[in-house]
Homo-oligomer: 206 residues x 2
DNA sequence: TTGCATATCTACCGAGTGGTAGGTAAATAG
DNA sequence: CTATTTACCTACCACTCGGTAGATATGCAA
């Protein structure tokens, strides 16, 4: 019953030019761009469908609802980038991991815009992505806190370091820098990040 | 020709219960709440009108368009709070001014939400408030840079301090903390701010 | 009391929204 | 070749949007 659709090279009319998965991926990437540019609520299915040469019902053939498409868009980066992040965090430390995240987002402005725009939008408790972002922030906080704790234990940072404060500061800096970048494109946020982190460690020891 | 409408205490039907200016202010305050909660694009004139017991055309009698209402909402805080901020900045330094801004926003969550939500939303060049926020960030940057320059000149901070980096860091921290607060209401962002600023000065001297 | 300005309403408009129903044509499986 | 599944489309639905036109009722000044 499961069809392993094969791509037909010539591709007549609306023939199966691409596999279902490829088509879905194409739609998700377009959704990232659209939702990143104008937000989830303002971005319409028609916007996404149009820029892909599809009608709205044609799009809904692949995703049952706008919300399902949003969730797929949000999952896109996570599933792709998470392994590399974990590797960098383990091998080079969480500072490098934070830097990697910024660099990734700089490389794909649509995704950066999507996350910042949606984080702000999802502030509303009724937003469909509210729970997603609440959990994401909780996870991020916990993740960084673990790493910082290790640095305190190993003596790189003094034992009176307030880990929760440091993590909140780090997360705020990363979010704030990205927001600023979107409004001041000339800003070199990696440079600011490096300097700020150097100052943090210089202050607390290390 | 100008009518100095007097409020009628009993307030029959749709009589002139309040002056035009009072009514406008009431509408703007409601708009701050609505736009802060769900954003400008998603927030509708009907939302604002309904929660004030007015119809949409009734609302449009006071503001010619949705965009005009947005601008009035954005101006609300600026015109009210700016004098106090300038005074604090002059008398207690820019650190205290930054803290004051955070404290103000904590006291009126609707305004905090409005600014963060709209800053992200206005990232899009086609957004009606895009220019407003670009200029606002440029102004803020310049404003803080001046104050920091003074600290460098007076020797409080070392002469090799990169003022632009420090200002970007400060602004990012403030924005990022507020965004985080909206997603993690238990977070004490004033505490994080104080600690971070102390670290900044400890690192750079002072 | 007359008359004007103001506040607000009902009724409507054209455009856009997410989503559904049901069809058609092509690709594929047997 | 036939039957089924897949990929899409047209047509439509109920709803919401910002905004306009025009009527009505009220308060206020003369």
């Amino acid at each position: 019953m499961v069809t392993e659709a094969k791509t037909r090279v010539d591709g007549k009319a609306r023939a199966r030019r691409t596999s279902r998965e490829e088509r879905r991926q194409q739609i998700v990437e377009t959704a990232v761009e659209v939702f990143g540019r104008v937000g989830y609520r303002q971005g319409s299915l028609k916007d996404v469908a149009d820029s892909i040469g599809l009608t709205v019902p044609g799009l809904l053939h692949y995703f049952p609802s706008k919300e399902a498409l949003l969730m797929a868009a949000l999952d896109l980066r996570g599933s792709v980038a998470q392994p590399e992040r974990t590797r960098v965090a383990d091998e080079e430390g969480f500072l490098a991991a934070g830097r990697l995240i910024l660099a990734e987002n700089l490389a794909s402005p649509g995704l950066m815009r999507l996350y910042i725009t949606l984080a702000a939008e999802a502030t509303d408790e009724d937003h469909p992505a509210h729970e997603y972002f609440v959990q994401r922030y909780a996870f991020t906080h916990e993740y960084f806190a673990e790493r910082l704790d290790a640095l305190v234990t190993s003596g790189v940072l003094p034992s009176d370091t307030d880990v929760d404060v440091a993590v909140s500061q780090l997360v705020a800096l990363m979010d704030g820098l990205q927001l600023q970048k979107l409004l001041r494109p000339d800003l070199d946020i990696l440079h600011v990040y490096d300097r700020s982190m150097a100052a943090l460690f210089a202050a607390h020891g290390g």
